[in-house]
């Protein structure tokens, strides 16, 4: 098909699809008038049943925790897929050799020391912030997923500050990979622990604690922490897989 034919074909389809979509949404309840009942029932129950003040997290990690298990493994398979696709092949070993010699890819223009010190400071701060967001998910907005992504973003600051060696050491370590797998496995294992106690999969078997405490809400906080570890490691791996080749080539170009 030529581009013109393709667009014409699409236009015909899109008109039909638009009519269909519009026909569907005409019968939706008006905007701003959510009718329930699912969300309302859970919003009323969650604080009492699960001692979690953030109902969104109560749903994500408990009421619909099985969805989140699937979601974590979607992330896990995607990371595995990216590593699979971008894995260095036999022919590439010579180029990837630059990797083994870290001195070969110091970047050319060094930033001022102020910026470097500042970035390192911000690095510590963002890790702290990520941990805070990740551990208070059951109380306030946030949770393991958001905290994990923030923690994963922190090492990027090191890269921006041109401390590529520190960045590489943090990110490329096999430990990152092991942590990712451990985080994902831990989620499933927490669910299996409930089975060992004679309850259905993913049932809370921990004490609920006092509503509002960091250690309250039982498995919600625990699962959230595991998800945080997995997500942080997963995003680091994703970024590293793209960056590895760039760093190696930059190093080669300089050498």
């Amino acid at each position: 098909m030529t581009e013109r034919h393709r667009l014409l074909l699409f236009l015909a389809g899109a008109c039909g699809l638009a009519v269909l979509y519009l026909a569907g949404i005409r019968n939706l309840p008006p905007w701003g008038q959510y009718r329930g009942p699912y969300g309302d029932v859970i919003a009323q129950l969650a604080v009492f049943q699960r001692h979690a003040t953030d109902t969104v997290n109560a749903i994500t990690y408990d009421y619909r925790g099985f969805d989140t298990l699937g979601e974590e493994f979607i992330l896990f398979s995607a990371v595995t897929g990216v590593m699979l696709l971008l894995r260095p092949e036999d022919g590439q070993t010579s180029r990837a050799g630059g990797e083994k010699n870290p001195a070969s890819f110091r970047d050319r223009a060094a930033l001022s020391e102020t910026v470097q010190v500042l970035a390192s400071g911000v690095f510590g701060f963002s890790v702290l912030f990520g941990v805070y967001i990740g551990t208070h998910g059951q109380l306030t907005p946030g949770g393991g997923f958001q905290g994990g992504v923030i923690i994963a973003a922190a090492p990027m600051l090191l890269y921006i500050a041109e401390n590529t060696e520190a960045f590489r050491r943090i990110v490329s370590h096999p430990v990152t990979e092991a942590l990712e797998a451990a985080g994902a496995a831990a989620y499933a294992l927490i669910g299996l622990a409930a089975l060992a106690c004679g309850a259905p999969f993913l049932t809370n078997v921990l004490p609920l604690g006092r509503t509002g405490d960091v250690l309250s809400s039982g498995t919600i906080a625990l699962i959230s922490a595991c998800v945080g570890v997995e997500v942080a490691a997963a995003f680091l791996l994703l970024i590293w897989e793209y960056l590895r080749e760039i760093l190696a080539r930059a190093g080669n170009a300089e050498a």
């Binding site: 905007w31 969805d67 696709l85 907005p141």
Partner: protein, 115 residues
Amino acid sequence: MLAHYPYFIAAWVFLCGLYGIVRSRHLVHTVISLAILQTSTYILLLAIGFRKGGYAPIFADIHPGVVTVDPVVQALMLTDVVVEATVVALLLAMVVKAYEKGGTTSPDDLRYMRG
């Protein structure tokens, strides 16, 4: 009209995403268009669970019994966000690899499988 306004936007964004994929001349462009297509479901879900004057469903600073928006769609959207990020990451890896192996970023040159 205003009663269904966000739903119209969702439909519009959905079609925009499809249009982007169809007219794409660069594989990264295809991937970005797919990400745009995905955001249509955010708008739809968010609009469905919204309640005028409702508070965020977080009972740290409001009392139980206060009218809130729907927490369930927000949990669904969290899943949706992850799905978007992962699919984009995977597709980008394919694009990068296809470029390194085939030297092309145009979908027109991808036709190894014709016929």
